[in-house]
């Protein structure tokens, strides 16, 4: 085999092994990026759910019935208030991807605030119904 031919075959071997190693590394890195994307989406979902629940909890201060129905456009059924949100957390009149459910216990002065994603609990808090300008409930 001539010197040039030997050199060419060595470059070919190097190129092929480089491609193999690069493919393996690419597969691992794609996995890492997918994991990062999943974590990021979970984080965004939790943050939005906390924001929504906190907003609702603050509206419990004062005339909560009026606040929840007028500000959050919640539908009231007895002591349960519900609001539907789409995938982008925008209010929707149809069946939503996310649902905010507030169950008011006026006797105890507390409310259970639940945010769900297609029936699965995302975030839940218990908040006091306190009217800082004149007692509670």
């Amino acid at each position: 085999m001539s010197d040039t031919g030997r050199k060419s075959s060595l470059i070919m071997i190097e190129l092929m092994s480089a491609m193999l190693i690069f493919s393996i590394c690419c597969a691992i890195c794609v996995g890492l990026y997918v994991e990062a994307d999943r974590e990021s989406k979970n984080s965004a979902r939790l943050t939005q759910a906390v924001f929504l629940a906190q907003n609702a909890a603050e509206l419990l201060n004062g005339d909560y019935e009026k606040n929840l129905t007028s500000v959050l456009n919640m539908k009231a059924t007895d002591n349960v208030y519900t609001a539907q949100y789409d995938e982008n957390w925008q209010p929707t009149s149809e069946t939503g991807h996310y649902v905010l459910i507030i169950t008011v216990d006026a006797q105890k002065g507390i409310a259970d605030i639940l945010v769900t994603e297609i029936g699965t609990e995302v975030y839940r808090i218990s908040a006091g119904i306190i009217n800082l300008n004149g007692g509670n409930v």
């Binding site: 890195c29 990026y33 990062a36 984080s43 909890a57 006091g128 800082l132």
Partner: protein, 144 residues
């Protein structure tokens, strides 16, 4: 006329592919690791915030339940205080702190009277533990 038929050789020798590969893999790995660690840190912060918000509103729920009990115990004829209440004339003063976590509490001062409940203070008290002294910092949640 003499034609130079000598074969032209590449300026780069054997191994340049490996150097490119090492750099490419290095960059990919570094950025992928940074993306994952950043996303995880972001998620941890979200969970921490969610936990604190949950504890804070749990404290407000305890406060609301206490106010209900205090209002139920109050009567115009014979004002009676629940646990730590102080009778001041025809009304009862309560100065309560409801624990949020080990470092902070919800401090509420309110009066129960025949007309209802009147809050004068509703604030978050943070216990600052320093190397020399232990003090308190407060954040007003609401001001009358």
């Amino acid at each position: 006329m003499v034609i130079n038929l000598k074969k032209h050789e590449s300026a780069y020798g054997l191994g340049i592919i490996s150097i490119f590969l090492i750099f490419a893999v290095l960059f990919l790995t570094v950025f992928a690791t940074l993306a994952v660690s950043s996303a995880r840190a972001d998620y941890r912060l979200s969970v921490k915030n969610a936990d604190y918000v949950k504890k804070y509103y749990m404290a407000t729920a305890e406060c609301a339940e206490f106010v209900q009990q205090a209002e139920a115990a109050y009567s115009d004829e014979v004002p009676t205080a629940v646990s730590s209440g102080n009778i001041e004339g025809d009304r009862i003063k309560y100065d309560m702190t409801f624990n949020i976590d080990e470092n902070s509490g919800l401090h509420a001062v309110f009066y129960i009277a025949g007309s209802g409940c009147e809050f004068t203070t509703f604030e978050i008290t943070t216990y600052v533990i320093g190397s020399e002294s232990t003090g308190e910092q407060t954040v007003n949640v609401w001001q009358p």
